[in-house]
């Protein structure tokens, strides 16, 4: 009996740290709508700062708790700095763009932390006076875990009081409900937002600092906590603090008891829970349906129109350049260009469902990596010829996308995105764990192109034909009735439904199309690399694709192509340098501030006049 009590309490104490982080994240999202990727970095800074403060002072009760509080305050201020100098300038940009800005912050903090705190892992200090354990019917339980178990509800109550008993709290709740109305009533939202970001970051720092006696500080903890924090926020309902608490307890307990019965379940348990919750309750356990539906008031998107004559010429010239490239470029340049093209196709497929389809996916790598695996498995086990594998891989991914999409299209906004993430993670863990069939994380090797295509120039042309062909086909689809219907569904579900369009079915279908083309990109990718590993399906890969699309701009068709080329090129050029993530992060921040419509979007608008054909200008259209 003692064993189960201790196991239960252990789950609760795990839940406590997660709750601090998730509560902050949920708070920030609820009010500012920022999907704050940098929250994990704040957590990491909290741990490091607390460690050094505690180490600098004589070891005592005061220095320990003072250090934790100081760390939380410092992190709160870091949050304020990020908000005031970066995010505040971007509130008018599409919400997703903020995600990219926060991701840039993640990159910057990763390298700054390495520079400031050193490369070594640090073991956290114990809490003075709380070093021991308590015996529960024969099983030992660390005292500090009990402190955490008590602290979490106290923080929950404190937040509740703050929200329900202070004027500030009332204003924050009002901002959560209806930002425009609050602004109309003359409340200065700027500082309201800043204070919320402060509180949210404070909580992240607190989480990082307070877990020190349970572990320590290392440079990977930012990425390790962020996924769990997002899952908890989404399971609890975005913006709901009690929901985050409930979800943290559920996830903590499932983790605690899950390892008893299924020790191998550690990779996927959390994501399974999220998938189940989202399928049953689309807005999380205690969340409310979003009042404003998907469309932002101010959309940057200009009306999509077929390419003008000039644009076609430009396209043609570019195409010619690509075809002539092998005459001038070395083999490595061909490979780099080939990779850009494949990546552009993957990004285009994400853009297809994200831009015109209005469905953001955080798990697109499931289809990209899935396509790579489908092709690799077919080649490896049944020696499918390359051509056939390249044909079947997208079909398999289309099928997978139909299955996943069936669940996802019932949701919208961030919830949809998180459900795609959950499914992607489930697919990833299947590939990762099923060592006998997929090779686990040792991957599948030796998947090189067929003999007729093994010449690098021929393979380059093959890549170009498939990638550019795929991109043009996707582009073409946007101007078919399907494309127009998709945009109608995105812009107004209600009206689209009223004129007799089956909204869900169209979204489902576009989801599947996106899966097919991502699978195609993955299929050709595996032949260019010769091997495939589960990391092609993992969360970071999904974010690579997402970031590229955002970098180029969600609102222009050329965006994904420009963005992905820029992404690969930057990665290739910058990774020569020592602190390249810092530089990449700064470049992202620069791009985000200068081109809030994305690079492609910026040039699209800038040269709109130049690009549009003469008769259109004469007719007075934009």
């Amino acid at each position: 009996m003692g064993f189960y009590i201790v196991q239960f309490l252990t789950g609760l104490s795990d839940a406590a740290t997660l709750f601090f982080v998730a509560a902050g994240l949920s708070l920030i999202f609820g009010v500012t709508r920022i999907v704050n990727m940098a929250h994990g970095s704040f957590y990491m800074i909290g741990a490091y700062v607390a460690y050094f403060v505690i180490a600098a002072l004589p070891h005592s009760w005061f220095s320990f708790w003072g250090g934790i509080l100081a760390a939380a305050l410092v992190v709160g201020l870091v949050g304020v700095v990020v908000e005031v100098f970066l995010l505040r300038r971007l509130y008018r940009a599409p919400e997703l763009f903020l995600l990219m800005a926060t991701f840039a912050v993640v990159l910057v903090i990763q390298d700054l932390a390495r520079w400031a705190f050193g490369p070594e892992d640090l073991l956290g200090p114990m809490a003075p006076g709380l070093e021991g354990s308590i015996n529960f019917l024969g099983a030992l339980m660390p005292v500090y875990d009990l402190v955490l178990i008590i602290a979490a509800p106290l923080v929950l109550i404190a937040i509740w009081l703050l929200f329900n008993r202070t004027r500030w709290g009332v204003l924050v709740r009002a901002a959560t409900e209806d930002r425009e109305m609050l602004a109309a009533l003359g409340v200065n939202q700027k500082w309201l937002f800043t204070s919320v970001v402060f509180l949210g970051s404070f909580l992240a720092g607190l989480g990082g600092a307070i877990q020190l006696p349970k572990g320590g500080a290392d440079l990977l903890m930012d990425m390790n906590v962020i996924a769990a924090a997002f899952v908890i926020v989404v399971v609890g309902g975005m913006g709901s603090i009690p929901g985050a608490f409930l979800a943290a307890v559920i996830i903590g307990e499932l983790g605690s008891f899950g390892v008893l019965f299924l020790p191998q379940s550690t990779l996927v348990m959390m994501f399974l829970v999220m998938a189940v919750v989202l399928v049953i309750r689309p807005y999380g356990l205690l969340g409310k349906p979003e009042v404003h539906d998907v469309v932002p008031e101010e959309s940057f998107e200009s009306i999509l129109r077929p390419a003008s004559r000039k644009l076609r010429y430009i396209g043609l010239i570019l195409l010619m350049l690509f075809l002539l490239l092998p005459m001038v470029a070395g083999r490595y340049q061909l490979i780099l260009f080939g990779e850009m093209a494949m990546f552009a196709l993957a990004c285009m497929s994400l853009y297809f469902m994200m831009g015109p389809g209005g469905m953001v996916s955080f798990g697109h790598a499931a289809f990209f990596g899935g396509g790579a695996y489908a092709a690799a498995l077919m080649t490896h086990y049944v020696h499918t010829p390359m051509g056939l594998a390249l044909f079947l891989a997208p079909l398999c991914m289309g099928l997978l996308a139909l299955i996943i999409g069936w669940f996802c299209v019932r949701l919208s906004g961030v919830y949809l995105a998180m459900l795609t993430l959950a499914f992607a993670q489930i697919c990833w863990s299947i590939v990762f764990q099923w060592t006998g069939f997929t090779g686990g994380d040792d991957g599948i090797l030796g998947i090189w192109p067929a003999k007729w295509a093994s010449n690098e120039v021929i393979f380059y042309y093959l890549t170009m034909v498939i990638s550019i062909g795929g991109i043009l086909l996707l582009r073409f689809l946007l101007f078919t009735p399907l494309g127009y219907t998709m945009r109608a569904c995105r812009d107004s579900r209600l009206r689209a439904g009223a004129v007799g369009i089956n909204v869900t079915r169209h979204q489902w279908f576009s989801f599947a199309v996106a899966g097919v083309f991502a699978g195609l990109a993955g299929g050709i990718y595996v032949f260019s690399k010769g091997s495939v590993f589960p990391d092609e399906m993992s969360i970071p890969r999904s974010f690579d694709i997402l970031l590229s699309v955002l970098l180029g701009g969600v609102e222009s068709i050329s965006g994904p192509i420009v963005g992905s080329s820029a992404f690969i090129w930057l990665e290739d050029k910058i990774s020569h340098i020592g602190f390249w993530r810092l530089i990449l992060g700064c470049i992202f921040i620069f791009l985000v501030s200068v081109f809030p419509q994305g690079i492609g979007g910026y040039f699209g608008t800038r040269f709109a006049n130049f690009l549009s054909s003469e008769p259109e200008k004469a007719n007075g259209t934009r």
């Binding site: 390892v259 020790p263 490595y332 340049q333």
Partner: protein, 401 residues
């Protein structure tokens, strides 16, 4: 508007020019070596590792280089992604004209490069990747591996562990290939020596996301007499701390892979576990001539003590330099022929690259942990030569394609 256009065109031209910059001209007086590792992650290993090969590079170049040529290392970060590593390898081969490839940490990156080396007939020395497949299941003519593999290190531990009377074993290992291989190899070797042992519980925490409290409870419930641990880094710290608080280690015989390495033991400071059987690197107590020279040079250059990574980096570059001397050429086939069966003097003493599977015989130190002056150390250790912990030649032949 006009100036904007000009700027735009200029930017585009620069962009294209950078993309299609012509392959670098082959430098006459130097031999270029391509080195790829995960410098943006796992810094506690990769930074000392870089120090290690930079030290060796200095030594080689100061003593006149190789065959009258200086060595030059082009070092790149793969961010832990096999796809990136393959692309960087392409770039190094095609553009930088490196003579060979070396390095990498993660097994999957190592395997991707192994396959790349095979297809492109490029010499590749895998420094750290521990996966057995690098030299066995996926081994090929062009790939060599320096570090004692998962199998070898697990076998070293299992041999010592077999002397302990414990029969009921539990295992805890990170949930990925390295962890799984390490447990499998240990179980295999231990069971072969001691058919009476049984493995009664296992835990597979996600890498760097250990749920230490809960997993230790789960292991406690099975009531094992001995525990085999494969977790490292942050996971190890949590495992040790929770285990102590929960009285888990009391009266149990603990065997732990890599825990004696300074990278993983030093962060634990005074809380380092005591009496565990571990593999590691007791740099403070090795007094062989080769190691003393290495240690002095390292401390003089960096004002810091070496970690295991430093030795791996140092030995890697030394192996390559010796091979180049022997081959007298940067022709891949000649380099491979020179490397096969070659013996060189590393920081741990002589190391041979076996002809049969291209695995080096670099060994590891096995001993027990203790705490001295508030620091974890290894005591009663001995150096086990890698050549004694490899399967028989017949078995190796079966494993290699």
């Amino acid at each position: 508007m006009k100036t904007r256009k000009i700027i735009f065109v200029a930017v585009a031209v620069v962009f294209l020019a950078l993309l299609i910059n012509a392959p670098a001209v082959f430098a006459g007086g130097t031999i270029k070596l391509g080195e790829i590792n995960t410098y943006s992650k796992l810094t506690s290993f990769t930074f000392p590792y870089r120090n290690g090969w930079e030290l060796a590079l200095d030594e080689v170049n100061k003593s006149g280089g190789v065959n009258g040529k200086q060595l030059e290392v082009i070092s790149r970060d793969d961010a832990g992604k096999p796809g990136n590593a393959v692309r960087i390898a392409e770039e190094m081969i095609r553009k930088d004209n490196v003579a060979l490839l070396m390095g990498s940490f993660f097994s999957n990156v190592g395997l991707a490069l192994t396959d790349f080396a095979k297809r492109n007939k490029v010499f590749y020395l895998a420094a750290e990747p521990l996966a057995d497949a690098v030299v066995w299941a996926k081994g090929n003519r062009y790939t060599f591996r320096l570090r004692p593999s998962t199998y070898m290190q697990a076998a070293m531990l299992a041999e010592q562990a077999a002397k302990n009377p414990a029969k009921r074993w539990a295992t805890i290992a990170p949930n990925y290939a390295y962890g799984k291989d390490a447990v499998k190899a240990f179980e295999e070797v231990l069971k072969a020596k001691r058919p009476d042992v049984e493995f009664i519980a296992e835990q597979w925490p996600a890498l760097f996301k250990i749920n230490a409290g809960a997993e230790i409870q789960a292991l406690t419930r099975a009531n094992p007499e001995a525990v085999y641990n494969v977790t490292f880094g942050g996971d190890l710290a949590k495992f040790v701390r929770e285990g102590k608080l929960r009285g888990f280690f009391k009266g149990k015989y603990i065997v732990s892979l890599l825990t004696g390495e300074p990278e993983y033991m030093d962060p634990l400071k005074g809380e380092a576990p005591e009496g565990w059987l571990v593999t590691g690197y007791p740099w403070y107590a090795i007094h062989t001539k080769a190691h003393t020279m290495f240690l002095k040079a390292y401390q003089a250059k960096y004002n810091d003590y070496p970690r295991t990574g430093s030795v791996v980096g140092y030995n890697m570059l030394m192996a390559v330099a010796n091979m180049l001397k022997k081959a007298g050429s940067t022709d891949t086939e000649k380099m491979v022929d020179a490397m096969e069966g070659m013996t060189f003097e590393g920081a741990f003493g002589p190391v041979t690259f076996r002809k049969i599977d291209h695995q080096s015989t670099m060994g590891a130190y096995v001993g027990y942990t203790a705490v001295k002056n508030g620091k974890g150390v290894m005591v009663n250790w001995k150096y086990l030569d890698g050549k004694d912990y490899l399967p028989s030649d017949a078995e190796v032949m079966k494993l290699r394609p």
